[in-house]
Symmetry: C2
Subunit: 477 residues, 2 copies
């Protein structure tokens, strides 16, 4: 393992983090908030970043192990140093780390009990960490994971706009630049539309941060419900849906082939899931709760898109809905958005391929000697990719089960344990009961918080990146 | 499709069913119960069986499709005709079918509200259907499924005492005879031990019926708790554990190699699961409920073995335990017993192989070019078997999710929906809350009962057998 390279990258990450913290510092200055939290954070993060990145010169190339370590410790480092402003705002260390990890992983689970009691600048930083996390995820999916052969690399590589396998290294910067341009451009459009719909600049920017990253933090306790505006809900629904789709396809749609999205198997299935779940939820809300059908649809489509894309915004306290409505949300929590988006979860493409694989097995059970390949976007899916996808799903479900069991053993009620586990592992944010959208995660015991921090970290990094470091093979030699 | 062969086998099955119903008729005679329910059932079933089996002569050999159809419709036929005595006992048609399917699939979920109000002979028949279902399952696993290449045939074939692939046909009878001898012999030992422990002949036989089949029905509302005897609980625990292990290995252990069980990877993992879950549950009961540690252990080991083996007996109302205790039971509900046993569920061997497959994928993510086969009992597991196992798990979980969603949409509470689904699909019997061990399934709405009947049927027949008939390929040509 080339530790120098890892430390060099982490050092550069700290420098970058110190630099971007200047933005909330300016916000604090504008609103007359205390400058101390950000000034100290910038100093600590920036100086340490400069020292480390100069002390450890980058030599040679990343190999697979270094790649895993950089990604995993990169997110951890961002979460740890990003929590400094919270600490100086008086939040306890474990809660500060929880909130910061929830930000950088775009989870949106919060331990803040009275959100609006915190300063505008702290809440700005909180939402901004999600936008930065979203950038990191796009980078990870399109540029790094394909190189690390994690959980279906060729699939994601095929979707990337530029690079081919042998040319990835020199093109990482270029790919990242292209995709971030798309990310920033769509963000700018959303913020402008939200302002046209009546939001202040502050509200528009902070909510754009957490829509595009499918993060779900809001500076208001009520979340999107605070605005009481169908127009704002509509805009946010559209942009959540965009953020939950593959950014490489967005790039292609904008710059190459207008039909890129519509032709994509994953995008079609993603749309189908959203429409089906919305239809069922609309019916359920209308039937059970005697709501007006249009109002039911308004709540249903917003909440389904919010959960499928793993954003986690709420326009209603969906925890108070009947179980026949809650089950729809619980079911889609396990799917998540598309690969190459900022969404978390198992991802639509994996889900789709597991279904195709099973259908194929049924076919083989009648025709044992027939060979029928599994296709995705008209290309045959190789066996090693299926293995990676299957194993992802198995490990994901195992972590979910162990996490649920541990939370229950720590004394949490069953539904809260189940949904707290999937909401953090899937980077969704809110769950049901004790961790519902109008509650917060501060009720979780301290050990449980550490567990959920690990869930967010593992879930965000496509599971393998973290779990592989627990195998003896990773550290051997 | 050769319908004549299918009908011929089903006709013979009905003749057999009509014949064995003479046993509860004799019980009814002995206890002075009404003879009508069994007399009518014998007449209808027997006559129809004779007519059909003579009308449709068996010609040619089963092919794959015929095999699937015979197994699936065989269980359905048994459930339908086995429900006649319940109907004549005054139970509604849907409830009678539910109880009968629950019997023949060895599930043990009941719709009887006041069990002890029913006659001794009806309750005898109810338990006997489970013992017959258990016989059917052993036959299915060891003799039929290997031929149908379902969900890992070579694995199970390897465990069967006699046949090799090309010789299966002539040996089905022989294999079945050997295994049923083991089944009957172990049953006789259990019944004798239960009588020595103080049970009446009736109680010993009926409870042996539902232990060896991992069925879980009892003629008493309180189940095994009715006996208040640690000795009886101990005997039943041991025999549930035996019934949840592979009967082909029991045969080998008895007649060939004493170490057959101990050397088997699946049996080792099965034992590990039971011990681990018992340890956690003992601690949890002791910690949460202030129970004496020995009493906690007594409850814990009985309940863990009962649920892992998918028997479903209870010595306590485990639904009243805290969620930290209930989570242990919920977790093992998804695993089930060993292949080739009478237990249901995903099965330990599939679970073990999914773990090995995932571990292998983690290894491959660090060493992309290394080839490392997956081993089970020192043999390499071929790719098509892994696909069958993975697909089994995917379809199983999908059915579980859809079933849970449908029950919730029908208005059932979430935990009840979750556990009713897994308890029927895994052929366990009781779940939590509305369908807890001291409650019954009569609270489920009629549509929900039909769904759960389907769950029991699908789960018992290793999923593929039923699901494959829903594919267009099955009916083509
Ligand atoms: K989120
Ligand atoms: K059972």
């Amino acid at each position: 393992m080339n530790y120098a390279i890892i430390l060099n990258v982490l050092g550069n990450l700290l420098r970058f983090l110190g630099l971007v913290m200047v933005v909330p510092l300016l916000v604090a200055f504008y609103y007359g908030d205390s400058l101390l939290p950000f000034a100290v954070a910038i100093l600590v993060t920036g100086v340490l970043g400069i020292v480390i990145s100069y002390r450890y010169e980058a030599e040679g190339d990343w190999k697979i192990r270094e790649g895993f370590a950089i990604v995993a410790f990169g997110w951890l480092t961002a979460a740890v140093f990003g929590s400094i402003p919270y600490l100086l705002d008086g939040i306890t260390p474990i809660n500060a780390l929880f909130e910061s990890m929830s930000g950088f992983t775009t989870t949106g689970a919060t331990i803040l009990q009275d959100i609006e009691s915190h300063s505008r600048s702290i809440l700005f930083w909180r939402n901004m960490t999600q936008w930065l996390g979203g950038m990191g995820i796009i980078m990870l999916f399109i540029a790094i994971l394909p190189k690390l052969s994690v959980a279906g690399r060729q699939l994601f590589r095929a979707e990337a706009p530029g690079p081919t396998e042998d040319k990835i290294k020199p093109r990482i910067r270029e790919t990242a630049r292209i995709l971030w341009t798309v990310y920033v451009a769509i963000s700018a459009i959303q913020a402008a539309l939200l302002m046209l719909a009546g939001m202040s600049l502050y509200d528009a920017v902070t909510h754009t941060f957490t829509t595009m990253s499918t993060g779900g933090f809001s500076p208001y306790a009520e979340g999107i419900a605070a605005f009481h505006s169908p127009l704002i809900e509509g805009i946010i629904t559209v942009f959540m849906f965009i953020a939950g789709a593959n950014f490489a396809l967005h790039y292609r749609t904008l710059y190459a082939d207008r039909q890129s999205l519509i032709k994509d198997n994953e995008f079609k299935f993603y749309t189908l899931i959203v429409l089906t779940a919305t239809a069922i939820l609309t019916f359920s809300l209308w039937n059970d709760m005697g709501e007006n059908i249009l109002l039911s649809f308004r709540y249903a489509i917003f909440q389904v898109v919010s959960i499928v894309t793993t954003t986690g915004y709420a326009t209603a306290d969906f925890n108070m809905w009947t179980d026949s409505a809650r089950i729809v949300l619980l079911a889609v929590m396990f799917i998540g958005g598309c690969a190459g988006s900022t969404a978390g979860g198992i991802k639509v493409v994996r889900f789709l391929l597991l279904l195709k694989y099973s259908q194929n097995a049924l076919f083989r059970s009648i025709h044992p000697k027939a060979v029928k390949p599994i296709k995705f976007n008209n290309k045959t899916v190789p066996e090693e990719i299926m293995q990676a996808i299957v194993s992802f799903a198995v490990i994901y479900v195992m972590i979910f089960a162990v996490s649920t069991a541990l939370l229950s053993l720590l004394g949490m009620e069953l539904i809260s344990s189940i949904t707290a586990s999937i909401a953090t592992l899937g980077n969704i944010g809110p769950g049901f009961n004790a961790v519902g959208p109008m509650s917060n995660f501060d009720v979780v015991p301290a050990l449980g918080k550490l567990l959920l921090i690990a869930n967010m970290w593992i879930g965000r990094l496509e599971v393998f990146t973290v779990i592989v470091m627990l195998t003896p093979e990773f550290w051997r030699r």
